[in-house]
């Protein structure tokens, strides 16, 4: 591993990098960074940088608080567009104990473990997200107390695929895509979404660990470039009532070496047995993992009927009301055979989301689950009785329900590891209880005058 280190040190020297940001992620998916100077870099690469882990949500208990951020030199990347005159680079870190043991609380370790298991079965796991988000007129810098209270104001009133001119949001999205491309994050397509000021960036697939790092990078780049223009970019799942929220559909596939394990020439839909059992696994365990892929009170305001978000647990070839969709691929494009899991939102922790979805899918493969028939009708038009007759369940309707489902799941406890599992359940139950204790404007408007 000497060469990546040399590469990083030489590059920092040659490109006159002034700051190196050591990135990692807390259990709830918030980006964290320790900024160091080139003088500290060699030690950081050799030994890691010590910090107080108990100050990070979900990392460690107070009595064992010192942990190390150990840079993964292979992730070193210049942040060309985020530097104001002082060239800055980032490197993603693994978090380890002082004795070098991977920290249970580090989400990147959770995903690494999940991918190790997939590899033991001979699979590599690929993911490509479609990330939706909003731009809002910012009263100030993000984080201002005043910014959060009033309803956010969209920058425009465009909609799906609008070719808007003179539109700050579209200009920002364009800049973001260029910045991402220069960082080596190829963007498949990008467009104005359905709702006012809502945008979407679709990323090309990578292995799941790289993708989780990339999703974190995209969130930082989108927000940072917006903030420079006095605009707030938000990945909040449902920032505006009455229009669709922001999802992060995950396109997933398994490869065995060079071969797409989801593809089968013989099958009518070109779906292999592995793909069918993977879908079956994701469907069967969907309720258990929803607390992870949709981890906020607000997430469940997106997962409602009427806004193209999935609500019912089902799959279909090309039916956007289904939870799992199998996108049609062009003839002969066997490598692009994949499934699309439509529940996650872009405010999830991507490491944990990918780890849990992978675990659910591979449980289906390993245990040989049967895939139910695909859905052919529009689910939203069925009555509750009709759905029951078809045996179609719904996703959890609230964070409270979702946490209750998660807590019962042995499979998810294994996927997340005991430490993250317990911390996450505790944290999310507390969030739900806080929310339950609130009296909302909805209640005041509706009840105060009459009750």
């Amino acid at each position: 591993m000497e060469h990546p280190k040399d590469y990083v040190l030489r590059t920092v020297e040659e490109r006159r990098v002034r700051f190196v940001q050591l990135w990692f992620t807390d259990v709830l998916g918030a980006p964290k960074s320790i900024q160091i100077t080139p003088a500290e870099l060699e030690v950081a690469l050799d030994e890691g940088i010590t910090f107080d882990g108990s100050s990070i949500d979900g990392f460690s208990r107070v009595q064992e608080s010192d942990v190390l951020a150990r840079p993964d030199a292979r992730t070193f990347q210049l942040l060309a567009h985020l530097a104001d005159g002082a060239p800055t680079a980032r490197v993603v870190c693994d978090i380890v104990d002082l004795d070098g043991t991977p920290l249970d609380g580090d989400p990147r370790q959770v995903l690494r473990r999940a991918l190790d298991r997939a590899r033991d079965l001979g699979f590599s796991f690929f993911a490509a997200p479609e990330m939706e988000y909003f731009y809002f007129a910012g009263p100030g810098r993000p984080g201002d107390a005043a910014g959060g209270v009033a309803p956010p104001v969209p920058l425009d009133h465009g909609s799906y695929f609008d070719l808007t001119t003179n539109d700050l949001g579209s200009e920002l999205r364009r800049q973001t895509v260029l910045a991402l491309e220069e960082m080596g994050i190829p963007v498949g397509s990008n467009q104005h979404e359905d709702a006012p000021s809502q945008h979407e960036v679709d990323l090309r697939y990578t292995d799941a660990l790289t993708m989780a790092d990339t999703i974190m990078t995209v969130r930082v780049v989108v927000k940072e470039l917006a903030a420079r223009r006095g605009v707030i970019a938000s990945f909040m799942p449902k920032p505006l009532a009455g229009v669709q929220g922001s999802g992060m559909h995950l396109h997933l596939s398994l490869f065995r070496g060079d071969t797409n394990a989801f593809y089968d020439e013989e099958d009518d839909h070109h779906l292999s047995g592995v793909a069918r059992r993977f879908i079956a696994g994701v469907l069967r365990h969907a309720r258990e993992l929803t607390a992870v892929t949709n981890q906020w009170v607000n997430s469940y305001k997106r997962l409602i009927v009427g806004y193209e978000a999935p609500v019912y647990i089902s799959w279909a070839r090309n039916n956007r009301s289904a939870l799992v969709r199998v996108p049609p691929t062009k003839a002969g494009r066997r490598d692009s055979t994949r499934i699309e899991y439509r529940a996650p939102d872009p405010a999830c922790n991507p490491y944990l989301a990918l780890a849990t979805v992978r675990t659910a899918g591979l449980a289906g493969v390993e245990r040989g689950y049967d895939l139910p028939a695909p859905l052919v009708t529009n689910l939203y038009e069925l009555t509750a009785d009709e759905r029951r007759a078809l045996g179609i369940e719904a996703l959890p309707g609230s964070l409270g329900d979702a946490v209750a489902e998660l807590e019962q799941s042995k499979l998810m406890a294994d996927a997340l590891g005991e430490h993250v599992f317990e911390w996450f359940v505790r944290n999310k139950r507390a969030e739900w209880n806080d929310y339950k204790a609130e009296v909302t404007p909805f209640e005041l408007h509706r009840y105060l005058p009459t009750l």
Binding site: H3, P4, D6, Y7, V8, R10, T11, E14, R15, A73, R74, T75, F76, Q77, L78, A80, L115, R119, S124, F125, F126, E181, E182, M183, G184, I185, P186, R204, Y205, T206, D207, A208, L209, T210, F255, R256, G257, D258
Partner: protein, 235 residues
């Protein structure tokens, strides 16, 4: 228009056995046109060739004349590999300045491939800047680990740099994903062979539209560096 990745073969047409070996080794090639006996022919001295492979099997004296013409051409002569029958070895005596290495015919495909690789490797090291790898606007500095295209520095990750370096030091040769994975990564990576595609895509994005074609896709085989004259490859 010729890229440095292309081999120059003589005579025209080259012997089928030689063509088969060169194709197997994955190199692009062109046969020298013109009257070789006279030691002339514009294509020989025009363009830059990765190496020349001269078959002395049918016409030893013509081959020697061609080698001489090549050595006297404008610019730096390409490294030269002679293919010669055992019976003609005496013709090489005291003419060692005309060739860099030779192969005995009948040809053993793997021997030719190894000798060519060795020749290209030596040639790549012996220039004025041994640490520089240059190709079609791309410059890689192996000492400083820096890469630039058309003078614009590329912000590469370590693995992207290693992959680009490997490809650029083996121009014209087709590599399968598996071969690249074992040569460049050298260990079992999460992505498996598919990860090569991801890195190629990232490299192309960073090279920019104009230079993305430096890395060509060879359908259902893998990738080849330096086929820009046939247009940009698509993933």
């Amino acid at each position: 228009m010729t890229t440095a990745a292309t081999l120059l073969l003589w005579p025209h047409p080259p012997p089928p056995a030689l063509v088969r070996c060169v194709d197997l080794a994955g190199y692009a090639w062109k046969a020298a046109a013109g009257d070789a006996g006279a030691g002339t022919g514009p294509p020989v001295t025009e363009g830059s060739w990765a190496a020349a492979v001269v078959s002395a099997e049918a016409d030893p004296e013509g081959a020697v004349a061609f080698c001489r013409a090549l050595r006297r051409g404008n610019g730096t002569p390409p490294p030269l590999l002679l293919v010669v029958g055992a019976g003609h070895l005496p013709a090489l005596d005291v003419r060692e300045q005309l060739w860099d290495d030779f192969c005995l015919s009948p040809l053993e495909p793997q021997e030719l491939e190894l000798r060519l690789a060795q020749l290209l490797w030596r040639a790549g090291r012996s220039g004025g800047h041994p640490e520089l790898v240059e190709h079609g606007g791309l410059v890689l500095n192996r000492e400083t680990y820096q890469a630039a295209v058309a003078g614009r520095p590329l912000d590469l990750t370590y693995m992207e740099y290693e992959l680009l370096k490997f490809l650029a030091t083996h121009p014209g040769k087709v590599f399968t994903r598996e071969a690249l994975l074992s040569q460049v990564w050298g260990y079992e990576y999460y992505g498996g062979a598919r990860t090569v595609d991801v890195h190629i895509r990232r490299l192309r994005a960073k090279l920019g539209e104009e230079h993305a074609g430096l890395i060509g896709t060879v359908r259902s085989v893998g990738y080849r560096f330096g086929q820009a004259r046939w247009g940009a490859g698509t993933a």
